[in-house]
Structure formats: C-alpha cells, structure tokens
C-alpha cells in the first residue's frame, strides 16, 4: 500500500517552546491510524500541521498523489461562535464546497451526498434546525456528516468521539470501520484508549515527540502502553 501522506522530521515551535518535536510517520492508503497521548502532548498541533493549517518550523509534510480537496476533517471541538446564523443543512453542504474546485455552485449530486450522509448519521430530525441550537454531541454528528461529504480518500478526526454518548460513540467507530473497509484512510486523535487499540492498525503515541510509533500489536507489547494501562493489564 502506497504512502499518501508522509511526515518527515516535523517540528512545531511556539513561543513557549516545542509543541511537536521531530515526528515522522507515514499514512498509507487504507490505514487506520490512531494518535494518542495526554492533554497538551501536541496531537492537535501535529494534525493541523499535517493539514497545512500550521507551518512546521522544521521538517516537511508531503502528499503523494493526494489532493487537499480529497480530505475530510473534523477539528477538535471548539466553542463555535454562539449565534452564528446557519442551518444544519448549510453546514453539511459546505462539506461539498471543496470538491467543486473553481465551479461556483453545488451540483445535484452534492445535494444527494448531503441527503445520504444525513441519513447515514441519523440526523434527519436535525436537518432543518439552526446549528447553534444543537447540543454538543449533535453538533459533532453534523460535523461528521460534513467531513464525510468532503472526504474522498482520507478522513482526519481530532477527538471525534468527544461529547458523544456511548451509543453514538460506538456507532461512530462502527461507521469509521465501514469507511475504512471501503478503502478510506482514517487518522484519528483519541483519548479513548480502549477503542483506539481495538480498531487501529497503527498507533502513534505523542509526548511532544513520539513515545511510540508502529503497529498495534507491537504497541500492545510496548512499555509505553503497559505503563498507561498499569495494573489493569497485569491483573
């Protein structure tokens, strides 16, 4: 399987010091890649750098045969501006904007894609509502629908399960697994260690620089993982 994103010795420095230091990894077609690590360990910074939202202070990110508009993305949930007047449908439809390139308007097949994803995520009752009136978890589902509209080859998700109830979180993992089986690469930041090791093929454990990077089965045997799981694994 060819590598579609290759990250080489990437570092990101803020005024307060390095947030990401000397990280290298490859995302290949069909990968299920989880990034784990404690709060402030540089996971979001790394993902934003991979997406080209932050310029790395060292190293480089290369896309191999992957175009920016084939990417789907869910940002880490940040308080969206309160009162932003927009309907759920408008939000999801904006996921199709990237695939139009220079063409100005959405096509019928874009609208069909929106309907399909609304159905898939079971958010039909929300479709006519105002985005700001939704709960955090409902908003997260809408953002997922938007990401599915924009994704062709790869989906990058920054804590997508944050704010979802356990049922919905499981549904989300099921859905991601389905997408992965049909060929899309998944790159996910997660604090949910149990599902990360359950679903991922590859794992990157961050603490500014990588503590571990490799296959899941090696991770399960690594001291890094054992230390986190602690007594539970020994018992």
């Amino acid at each position: 399987m060819g590598s579609i994103i290759s990250v080489q010795n990437v570092s990101v420095k803020y005024d307060s010091g390095f947030a990401v230091k000397d990280v290298s990894f490859d995302v290949c077609e069909g990968d299920y890649f989880c990034i784990v690590g404690e709060n402030g360990s540089g996971k979001s910074t790394l993902m934003n750098t991979v997406l080209g939202l932050i310029r790395p202070s060292g190293g480089r990110v290369a896309y191999n045969g992957l175009k920016q508009n084939q990417i789907g993305f869910i940002p880490q949930q940040t308080a969206v501006q309160k009162d932003f007047p927009t309907s759920v449908r408008e939000v999801i439809l904006s996921g199709c904007t990237n695939r139009r390139g220079v063409l100005p308007f959405h096509a019928n097949k874009d609208r069909q894609r929106v309907r399909d994803n609304i159905k898939r995520l079971d958010i039909e009752p929300l479709a006519r509502k105002s985005y700001c009136d939704l709960s955090g978890g409902q908003q997260q589902r809408v953002l997922l629908a938007r990401a599915l509209c924009s994704a062709d080859k790869i989906l990058l998700l920054d804590e997508p399960a944050g704010g979802l109830d356990p049922v919905m979180a499981n549904e989300l993992y099921g859905l991601l697994g389905e997408l992965n089986n049909s060929g899309a690469a998944i790159v996910m930041i997660s604090h949910d260690m149990a599902s990360a090791v359950k679903y991922a093929g590859k794992i990157l454990h961050m603490q500014t620089s990588p503590l571990f990077y490799g296959k899941k089965k090696d991770y399960l045997a690594s001291p890094v993982y054992k230390k986190i799981v602690g007594g539970a694994a020994d018992a």
Binding site: N48, N69, P75, D83, P85, E90, S94, N98, P104, C132
Partner: protein, 278 residues
C-alpha cells in the same frame, strides 16, 4: 406624500443619490454579513477612515478623488486584513491606530488646504450633493462587480465565514477569499463614502447584518434579508431626510437603528412564543 416623492424624483441629483445609494447599501449589507460574523467589523471602520484621509489628500493636491482613493484604500484593505489575521500583534488595536491616524492626517489636510469647514463636514458626514454623473457610472460598475463576485463565490464565502479551518484543510483557498471580501469592502466603502460620510459608512456594513440576525437563523436567510433591508432603509432614510430636511447619511443610520429595534423585538417575541409552545 406622493407629491413629495414625485418632487424628489424630478431632481436629477436625488435620482443619482437614490441609484448609487441603493446599490451601495445592497453591496455593503452582503459583505457586512461576513465581516460581522468573522469579527472583522473593525476593518470596515478602518477602511472608511483611511478613505477619508485619501479624500483629503486628493483635495489638497487637487486631483480626482476616486483615482487617489481607490488604489490607496485597496492597499489599506490588504494591510488591515494581514493585521487582523496575525494574532501575534494585537490586530484590532493596530487597526484602531491606523484608522485614527488616517483620520487625523485627513482632518489636518482638509483644515489647512482650502480651509472650508463645510468640506470637512461633508466628508465626515456625507452629502447627497456629492454625487456627480461620473460617480453614478462608477458606482453602478463597482456594484455590478461586487454583486457578481458575491453570487459566484457565495458558497466559498460561506465556507470561510463559518469555519475557516475546515475550509482550508479541505482545499478551499481561504486566503484568496478573505482577500476578496476585504477588497470588495474597500471598493464599496470608497464609492459610498462621500454620500454617507466617512464616519457613517461603516454602519451600512454592520447594521443590516446585525438586524437580520435577530430574526433569521440560516446564513442564506440573513444574507437575503440584509440586502433587502439595507436597500429599504436607505430609501426610507432618504425620504425622511428630504421631508424633514435632515442630513441624509445620519437619517439613513437612524432608520437602520429603528429597523434593528423592530427586529430585536420580533426576535424576542419569537423566542418567547417558542418557549410557550414547547
């Protein structure tokens, strides 16, 4: 009432002001939705003050005002956008500095150059007499450009307004569309400034968006309502100014304020009703 409207329409300068004003009000309102939601309202304010400075320079050197204003204000739009995108320096404070400096320089030039306080007052607070036939053509052209680009890029403008990070990550050229919004705003401000006045033009950008947001909850709804409302407020304002002999720019702003209060009340009642029903 009808007589008065007839009387107004029989005067060419009123007709010119009406055409230019409605077009400018429409364009300003469209761009204003994005500026307000992106918290870029300061850019509108900054640009109008820079615009005043450039008018003063044109007056001092006795050259055609728009030839000086348009390039300089476009340049300023470019700079102000860079400033507000850069989070390291305090963007809004920097914009405030630039805009008050431009205003101060403008005031000094106007005071020294031809020494007529009437000019100063007109530049600051607008005059519908300022509209000449040349301005009419120019503003029709500018408005046509703004409206066309806005419609063509509506989906992209929505994307950068709602979630710039997502838009950029998924391949939309956000820098380009931010710049487009800033440059179009600069054009609209230059064209509308002499009628509305440097101090008042930014209200044409901010008011309609804020007003529509009280009642409409979708982006498209807000955009359409803002544009319509802005044009209607302009016309009412102009009639009011004629009927009571009040300054046009200020009257239009006051009509916008009234509309805001009405929408605010409607929004409030809507909310209360929803609470009652559910």
């Amino acid at each position: 009432m009808l007589d008065m409207v007839n009387e107004m329409l029989s005067m060419p300068f009123v007709v010119r002001a009406l055409i230019v004003g409605v077009l400018v009000a429409l364009c300003a309102a469209l761009l204003g939705v994005s500026l307000v939601l992106k918290r870029y309202s300061m850019i509108g304010d900054g640009l109008s003050h820079v615009g005043f400075g450039t008018l003063a320079i044109a007056l001092a050197f006795n050259v055609a005002p728009l030839q000086v204003s348009i390039p300089l204000v476009l340049l300023a739009a470019f700079l102000l956008l860079r400033l507000s995108e850069n989070s390291k320096i305090k963007g809004d404070a920097a914009i405030a500095l630039i805009s008050s400096s431009a205003l101060a320089v403008g005031v000094i030039i106007v005071a020294k150059a031809k020494g007529m306080p009437a000019d100063l007052f007109n530049y600051m607070f607008g005059s519908i007499l300022a509209m000449k036939t040349g301005d009419l053509y120019l503003s029709v052209a500018v408005s046509a450009v703004v409206l066309t680009l806005y419609v063509l890029f509506y989906n992209k403008i929505y994307a950068v307004t709602f979630d710039e990070k997502f838009a950029k990550a998924t391949g939309t050229k956000t820098g380009l569309y931010n710049m487009l919004i800033a440059l179009l705003t600069a054009l609209v401000i230059v064209v509308g400034m002499r009628m509305m006045g440097a101090m008042l033009i930014s209200s044409l950008i901010i008011f309609p968006a804020l007003t529509s947001m009280r009642v409409f909850k979708s982006f498209k709804g807000v955009v359409i309502c803002s544009a319509g409302l802005s044009a209607v407020c302009f016309i009412i304002g102009l009639v009011v100014s004629y009927a009571w002999d009040t300054p046009a720019g200020a009257s239009i702003v006051v009509v916008n304020l009234a509309a805001f209060l009405v929408f605010f009340a409607v929004g409030f009642v809507n909310k209360a009703l929803r609470h009652l029903c559910c």
